[in-house]
């Protein structure tokens, strides 16, 4: 029985000038100025190339991108519910397996890529994502993380940082820090429970070559892969829209975001600063943290310090569990 496999070996990019000129995510969409998710979409699409099918769960990259009668996608794209990106991708991949096997489609198995926000990945979309990985579908699941339900007006998600002011976590006299919970860790969720996954990486819009190479490495792997991409949101995080890349860089310099690859059980780190700046440097540029008191910032610093010791090891949250607080 013939089996549809990818034989592709997308070459890694050495320098920014070697990045291909062809665009597969093109202008004509309605994202905000300085949108981090739009920037990562452009880079992912460029890296993946023309033999690609995108599945787009509901989120900013659906609502602000694909407006009927115009589309920014030069490769096939289909909307999915915010709930089921992983499941729809599983079906597309399964269809190609059988259609290629039966000779009904020719050529290489396409790159099947889910482009989900944090909600569509590790909140309401978690079940579908996890099952796609468990079942060993040959597909890449990208979580572009802007750390909130931004499209619906900036509500907290499981990746919204501690202390953030969102429209569901407004600070007030009774709850001065706004968000009291500490976030989920998406790549660790994937690594910890999905033996079929062979490649997981984090990336950032601040380092486009690194991001694109991680997309290509993920697509060269046969089987499920996961990328967690930091995508700052000027509107949700309340910073000047010219500062998207600066904020993304500061996240890495302060340890708020760690760039790493996990391949066959081995961790490798990229763009690791020699010395971390205090998290305050990152937080002070963002209006979502403007209300925080010294004690709250210290709590965040303690959380980051613990996390920096080892991304592969769960972090002890330096706060009592939420029920005990209430």
């Amino acid at each position: 029985m013939a089996v549809a496999v990818k034989t592709q070996n997308l070459p890694l990019i050495k320098k920014i000038r070697n990045i291909p000129r062809e665009e597969y995510y093109v202008p004509g969409h309605r994202t905000c100025a300085g949108c981090g998710p739009a920037l990562q979409y452009k880079l992912v699409a460029k890296a993946a190339g023309p033999n690609t099918i995108f599945l787009g769960p509901t989120g900013c990259m659906y609502v602000a991108n694909a407006s009927y009668l115009c589309t920014p996608y030069r490769v096939p794209w289909m909307h999915t519910q915010i709930t089921n990106g992983g499941a729809v991708a599983s079906g597309v991949e399964a269809a190609y397996q059988v259609l290629i096997r039966k000779g009904k489609r020719e050529g290489e198995l396409p790159n099947v890529i889910v482009m989900a926000g944090d909600g569509g990945s590790v909140d309401i979309g978690l079940q579908a994502m996890s099952a796609m990985m468990y079942r060993n579908h040959d597909a890449l699941f990208v979580c572009y993380d802007n750390e909130a339900y931004a499209n619906t007006g900036i509500q907290t998600s499981p990746t919204t940082p501690y202390g953030a002011n969102t429209t569901f976590t407004p600070p007030g006299p009774a709850i001065p820090e706004g968000k009291k919970l500490f976030p989920k860790d998406p790549p660790q969720l994937v690594i910890g429970g999905h033996p079929a996954v062979k490649y997981v990486a984090t990336a950032s819009v601040a380092y486009p070559v690194d991001l694109m190479n991680k997309v290509r490495k993920a697509l060269n792997v046969q089987g499920p892969t996961f990328l967690h991409i930091h995508a700052p949101c000027p509107k949700g995080w309340k910073f000047n829209e010219s500062k998207t890349v600066e904020i993304a860089k500061l996240a890495i310099q302060t340890g708020m975001w760690i760039l790493y690859e996990w391949e066959n059980g081995e961790y490798k780190y990229q763009h690791k600063p020699r010395e971390y700046k205090p998290v305050r440097e990152y937080m002070k540029l963002q209006g979502r943290f403007a209300h925080l008191q010294e004690a709250h910032i210290a709590k965040m610093q303690a959380f980051v310090d613990a996390k920096l010791k080892a991304p592969g090891i769960p972090v002890a949250v330096p706060a009592p569990p939420p029920r005990a607080q209430a």
Binding site: I53, T71, P110, A131
Partner: protein, 397 residues
């Protein structure tokens, strides 16, 4: 040569899916439909069926997987029962609105609470207005046939709609009956290979399901409604071809039994039709002029055919095996649509409804005799006293 076998409804559906050369299957266990997936899993394991068999992580995922696979160009099958059917509800409108012709076999089961394995049409009927084709099988033979007929109609480019292919849990899904299995060549003659006008294919990029503005919404709703207006002609063609190729005598939308000189009739669908036929035979021997009209498609609702079939009677009793709590008729779903179908007729029959077979109860002969007595009374009185009778529970109603 076609061969005769004795199969349950689930086994018959599995045989039909195999002969339809289904390519992607997505399973999740829930009784009683599960038997379909168990049959298909064996066929795939034995190499009799070349298909991807995907273990869905729930019914919502089942529908999502087959949506992706069908949109990519594969013929697909999934299925469910009871609360599984309603768990997937979010997906039904996007699939129908996306005009992706997936097929879902439903072996009916009562919804919770309380937990009840029994058959009841409420699970599927709750999903009837999302744009899917929908109809019930009376027996395993029809379960087999309806699978093929629905693929043919749903995948037709003039229709492009998903299909709920329903059978009563246990009464059809698990009680074996005679099934004529056709030759593969007959199935191939009836059912062309699946194609989609714009599949997800990197060689021909398209965007499926973009966001729209409110002023762009109505036209899309209208197109989905239009597909249901266009479907009847395609159903008629398909049934004519089916009858010719397989040697059957189906009528497309409503089937009549002993109605030539009947004054009254049961309006019914699914498994209990079989008991109703026996009841009618007995009632006829007692001189009661009664027949039945069986509904084959709930969606598209055959308004004209229902009106024509029922207009000749003095009284019609709609047998309801589903609930519509708080609805205009205070009982099930079908009487609403039956009365709406009759409304424009100059002379309408008297109508009422009978809640029977809920929770998976049998509908024994004596209950049909009870219903016939009420219909006789309505004719004598010249009016229907009530819109609903809870058969066997009138003391509590």
């Amino acid at each position: 040569m076609a061969k005769e076998m004795v199969l349950s409804g689930c086994a018959a559906s599995a045989q039909a899916a195999k002969m339809a050369k289904v390519e992607v299957i997505c399973s999740y266990p829930i009784r009683p439909y599960t038997a379909l997936m168990m049959e298909l899993a064996k066929m795939v394991a034995n190499g009799e069926l070349d298909a991807e068999f995907i273990y869905g992580e729930g019914e919502h995922a089942q529908l999502s997987v087959v949506l992706g696979a069908s949109a990519a160009g594969a013929r697909v099958l999934t299925g469910s029962s009871g609360v599984g059917v309603t768990y997937a509800f979010e997906t039904y409108s996007p699939i129908a609105g996306g005009r992706v012709p997936v097929q879902m076999m439903i072996a009916d089961r009562a919804l919770d609470p309380p937990g009840d394995f029994g058959s009841e049409h409420t699970d599927a009927m709750s999903c009837r207005d999302q744009g899917w084709l929908m109809g019930w099988a009376e027996n395993p033979q029809e379960a087999f046939d309806n699978c093929l007929i629905n693929y043919r109609v749903g995948e037709d480019h003039r229709v492009l709609l998903p299909q709920f292919v329903c059978q009563d849990g246990y009464f059809v899904s698990h009680i074996p009956g005679k099934v004529l299995l056709p030759d593969q060549s007959q199935v191939d003659e009836f059912l062309p290979p699946y194609t989609l006008p714009h599949p997800l294919d990197p060689k021909h990029p398209v965007s499926h399901g973009p966001q729209i503005r409110p002023d762009q919404g109505t036209i899309m709703d209208l197109q989905r409604a239009q597909a249901h207006l266009d479907a009847p002609a395609v159903i008629k063609e398909a049934i004519a071809d089916f009858n010719r190729i397989f040697g059957r005598d189906y009528s497309p939308f409503v089937e009549e039994y002993m109605t030539d000189d009947a004054e009254m009739a049961f309006f019914i669908m699914g498994a209990h039709t079989m008991t109703a036929r026996h009841a009618i035979k007995h009632l006829r021997s007692q001189g009661v002029k009664i027949g039945l009209v069986k509904l084959r498609f709930v969606r598209p609702w055959p308004t004209q055919e229902v009106a024509e079939a029922l207009s000749k009677f003095k009284a019609v009793g709609v047998v309801e095996t589903s609930t519509s709590y708080g609805g205009a008729m205070r009982g099930g779903n079908l009487l609403h649509e039956v009365r709406a179908s009759l409304y424009d007729l100059p002379k309408r029959p008297l109508t009422t409804s009978f809640m029977a077979g809920l929770g998976g109860e049998m509908v024994p002969l004596k209950e049909f005799y009870y219903m016939a007595d009420i219909l006789s009374e309505m004719i004598k009185d010249g009016k229907a006293k009530k819109t609903v009778y809870w058969v066997g529970f009138e003391a509590e109603a």
